[in-house]
């Protein structure tokens, strides 16, 4: 396989463009193993730079005999942002003998164009779309991880343990115990998660809350997941109070399309020392995901445990009404507080929405559809029964 790649490189006498790029989606396709399963899967190769290029597609990895690719060398025109292709897989019985993931890779390699003038061969890129075939383990088997959210001083951190049942049997009760240690191996807390059942091949999340009453720094979580009498252990490091600076709000007053918009970005320094050279950088992307605006505020010092407004100006000449995606980065030292945004631009207003902006902390509305249907069935039964009794009595009396 590697020889094939190398051969393609060697036979090309090349002059490289200043930017060489390539993309592929999806990056991974996961399939639960079923004996003899046969299916076609779509994938796309992305021409991010909108250029003329040749891409060589091939299959490699353990399962390459199970995959059929319908294309080899493909051409892209500058107008083609992406192209869709297909591959077909047929899962053989032989892989079922070994539980766990079995992998194949669809590799897309950009073949640099040959030129009359040069022979220089530079770095080349290839991107991979992976196919993971998960063969279930006999009995019960779980894969687990740990995510820690909102681990801020004097706050409540949420510990989430996502678990996947990779076994053939369902799990009645899974729960986890998390012990928290300092860097000096001193235990500072123990928390228990809730209990959840998991069907084979399914994923669920166990959660636990922890009142953070320790100083900022790195900690080690030692996690034990118990499931129907069995258990697994793993460790993961996490930080408390790692986010020193947060983006509080973005304000735009008196916006007029075609003029220079003033963006007032309020940031808060949550650390107990001043942060110097803090500046905001807003990127706005067009429909083709290219940056159409790149604006920066002046660098400021934000005092310890205080808020400060950073001001950036966006020249909206040539900008059309519509929705644009964007990214706001507030940089301090080597760190950055980032927020993905959606900017809704109209003639006289600019509305900015951030990720998580409208996410409610808790509580759903409405009654589950299954409950509704159950209630309806009961109502219909009662109605039928009532009519039946009513008419039986009515007819009985008349007789």
């Amino acid at each position: 396989m590697r020889n094939k790649l190398f051969l393609i490189l060697v036979i090309s006498l090349l002059v490289l463009p200043s930017v060489l790029s390539l993309g592929i989606t999806p990056g991974r396709t996961t399939i639960e193993y079923v004996s003899g399963l046969e299916k076609e899967v779509d994938f796309s190769v992305l021409n991010n730079e909108h250029k003329e290029m040749q891409v060589f597609l091939m299959v490699q990895g353990e399962l390459n005999d199970s995959i059929t690719l319908f294309d080899g060398m493909v051409e892209f025109m500058p107008s083609e942002e992406s192209k869709s292709f297909k591959y077909k897989y047929k899962l053989s019985d032989s892989i079922s003998l070994k539980p766990g993931p079995h992998i194949a890779e669809i590799v897309a390699l950009e073949v640099p164009k040959a030129s009359d003038t040069g022979t220089y061969v530079g770095a080349t890129v290839a991107v991979v779309s992976q196919i993971y075939v998960q063969v279930p383990y006999p009995g019960k088997f779980v894969e687990a991880d740990l995510n820690v959210l909102d681990a801020e001083n004097n706050g409540t951190a949420t510990f989430i343990v996502p678990i996947i049942n990779r076994g053939k049997l369902g799990i009645g009760d899974a729960r986890a115990i998390i012990d928290i240690y300092t860097a000096l191996n001193e235990k500072v807390g123990t928390i228990d998660t809730d209990y959840m059942p998991i069907s084979p091949g399914e994923r669920t999340e166990l959660t636990a809350k922890w009142n953070v009453n320790v100083p900022s720094g790195n900690y080690l979580a030692k996690v034990t997941v118990f499931y129907d009498g069995e258990s697994i252990n793993f460790e993961k490091q996490f930080s408390v109070g790692s986010q020193m600076l947060s983006i509080e709000s973005i304000l735009v007053n008196n916006f007029q399309l075609g003029e220079i918009a003033k963006l007032q970005i309020l940031v808060e320094n949550k650390f107990n020392q001043d942060l110097e050279n803090v500046f905001a950088n807003l990127l706005v992307y067009n429909d083709e995901n290219q940056a159409m605006a790149d604006v920066r505020s002046a660098a400021e010092t934000v005092s310890a445990l205080s808020k400060k407004e950073l001001v950036a100006y966006w020249d909206t000449v040539g900008v059309k009404e519509g929705e644009y995606s964007g990214k706001l980065m507030v940089k301090y030292g080597e760190k950055s507080a980032d927020k993905n945004l959606v900017l809704k631009v109209s003639e006289d207003s600019l509305d900015i929405f951030g990720v998580g902006y409208a996410i409610r902390p808790k509580g759903g509305k409405g009654v589950d559809m299954t409950t509704i249907l159950m209630v309806l069935v009961i109502i219909l039964l009662i109605a039928n029964l009532s009519w039946f009794i009513f008419f039986k009595r009515f007819i009985g009396k008349r007789k």
Binding site: L5, L9, G27, G122, A123, T124, A126, R360
Partner: protein
């Protein structure tokens, strides 16, 4: 005759219930474009979203606050249900595909490898048919590289 009357009354009642259900049901559609997911709704005001089919640990998206704006999601499989003050709808599913993308940028004189996809990638460097090292890059991260050999990027586990 009486049986017919009963049948008609039952049918009428059933139609009434179904019409009521039709109007009260929170109707919503989902469309995915890259990392952005847009929910179009007629009478739903909340969307429940979870990475798990059992809706453990869901997030609640208030459609009155979001309006028509798309919401950014990290790549993965998500389950969703629309809801209003009366009913929670049936479970739906959408997938935000991961994208593995790389650029070798030579504009500054040297060569920088940039992750232009939406997931963390593991890049193996090969030379003369052998793997000689690897780099891990988060989205939008870059690293200076030697301008030769092949760089193969795949989604990190």
């Amino acid at each position: 005759m009486k049986t017919r009357k009963i049948m008609i009354m039952q049918m009428g009642f059933l139609v009434l219930v179904l019409v009521g259900l039709y109007f009260a049901y929170p109707k919503a559609d989902v469309s995915v474009s890259g990392n952005f997911v847009k929910f179009d709704s007629i009478n739903a005001n909340v969307i429940m979203i979870s990475e798990n089919s059992d809706f453990s640990n869901p997030i609640y998206l208030d459609l009155e606050e979001v309006g028509d704006s798309p919401v950014n999601f990290k790549p993965g499989t998500y389950y969703w249900k629309s809801a209003n003050s009366l009913i929670q709808g049936f479970r739906g599913k959408f997938v935000v595909d991961s994208e593995v993308g790389m650029v070798v940028d030579r504009e500054g004189g040297g060569a920088d490898l940039v992750n232009v996809g939406n997931v963390k990638i593991n890049i193996t460097k090969g030379g003369d048919g052998f793997m000689v090292g690897h780099i891990i890059l988060e989205p939008e991260e870059s690293q200076e590289i030697e301008d030769f050999g092949e760089y193969i990027g795949r989604e990190e586990k």
